[in-house]
Amino acid sequence: MLTVATGNKAVAAAVKEAAPAVVAAYPITPQTEIVEQIAEYVSSGELKSQYIPVESEHSAMAACIGASVTGARTFTATSSHGLHYMHEMVNWAAGARLPIVMANVNRALGPGWNIWAEHTDAFQERDSGWLQVYVGSVQEAFDAVLMAFCIAEDERVLLPVMVNLDGFLLSHTMQPLEIEKAGDFIPPLHLPHAIDPQNPCGYGTLTGPDEYFRLRWDIERSMRDAVDVIRGTQERFARRFGRKYGMVDEYRCDDAEVVIVAAGTLGREAEVAVDLLRDEGTRAGSMRIRWFRPFPRLDLSGRDVVVIDRDYSFGFGGVLAKSIAATEGARPFSVIAGLGGQEVTYEDIAGFVRNRQPGRELWFGVNGDV
């Protein structure tokens, strides 16, 4: 059914299709609409889930962990400060190998108090063992949530997945949305290490140095295996629903001499900048980072690279720019833009490309470059 919906409503509609057994959540702007809508589905009987309204995000993730460890499909949603309030449990969910799916509506961290889009909130969880995907449209938010359950619950992965969407720019923006019937697209969850509540026993108590190290390696092995699972799931999705997704969403890259790398809505806006630059005679292309963990490989050889980070790691640099410099040996022109919802237009992005200085860092809207 084709309708017009916000990113938040799209996430909730996808969760309804995935029908998790348990949803535990705490509201926070700009995510609240997701859990409100899910609560309405549960209240009206359209979604047969147990909805646990908890008193904090730490408890939300703890409740998801408690449910997931019995083999139940679980979902939660949060944003920014909420994500960081649950930080301890975020790490626990991955370490316990629980395929929890969480929507995170990307929002800046205070102070200054700010409810608008930024990716630093989720990037700070990059070492937790969660898979992370960033979407660029309302439809993609819906599609990513459906696929997230398949990927998280695959026995080669068994790690939690975080679906990220830009605060307001997607969470509150209305776009066309095809609400698909998931049917049997998401196979039933079989958790091999599920605890039987009738006969409860499990691991997770004190783990010595040798065993702990092996558990950590097993997370990394699954993270590497996840690349194939993601590809396979996205191909299966394309065959069934007709929309194709990659680790990275490339646009006009084949003959590109300069490539713009960005995540989320900035990556979509960059495509319009590419068209503008091509009209001027610059062979530009765009690579929109979808999967951030596991981190994708990019074909950047012989190309100039302009990376736009809607995030920052203080004392280090833009997270995407530094990641790409490390993984691809690139010398990107690193642009820090869009922090706290700062307005960045396709004309601004085209300007970054025209004035690129490989190896340097520019803070958009701040006098002088760094």
Binding site: V4, D166, H172, T173, Q175, E269, E343, T345
Partner: protein, 175 residues
Amino acid sequence: MFEVRIHSRGGQGGVTAARLLALAAVRDGKYATAFPFYGAERRGAPVVSFVRIDDTPIRISSQIKKPDLVIVLDPSVMDVVDVLQGLKPGGRVLLNARERRDMKGYPTFTVDLTGIALREKLEVAGSPILNTPVLGALAKMGIVTMESAKSAITEMFSDPRNVSAAEAAYRELVA
């Protein structure tokens, strides 16, 4: 790409008007996005919503700087906001007003949406509903078809008075 900016006050339904317009455009077979500018909103404060309509998928998320059409649901915001800012040369204005006003030479369309809502007894908490009748005016202007406007309204609201109000606005729009 056709770009619309809607001026209203918090609580008057400007955001819903944007969604209705986007939905009607999608029912016409087009692509559309609608979004409000989120600031420190509160009831009564001037607010702005945006709609983009195009024949291909819309990839732009940034705000609309040069609209093709400005809709003013509450003319009193014109005392504090320059509603014509950035309006393209040849761009149009749709005003909720009983009488014509000069909008610096821009083609201006006028319709008494408040009067229509009161006549149809379309009110929420004592305030007239403007966002469904405005769809009728937009259909008359050719932005969307009347069929899609009605379809969008009935998808979002069950009360048939919303459609009657849109039909009244369609009839009563003054160019």
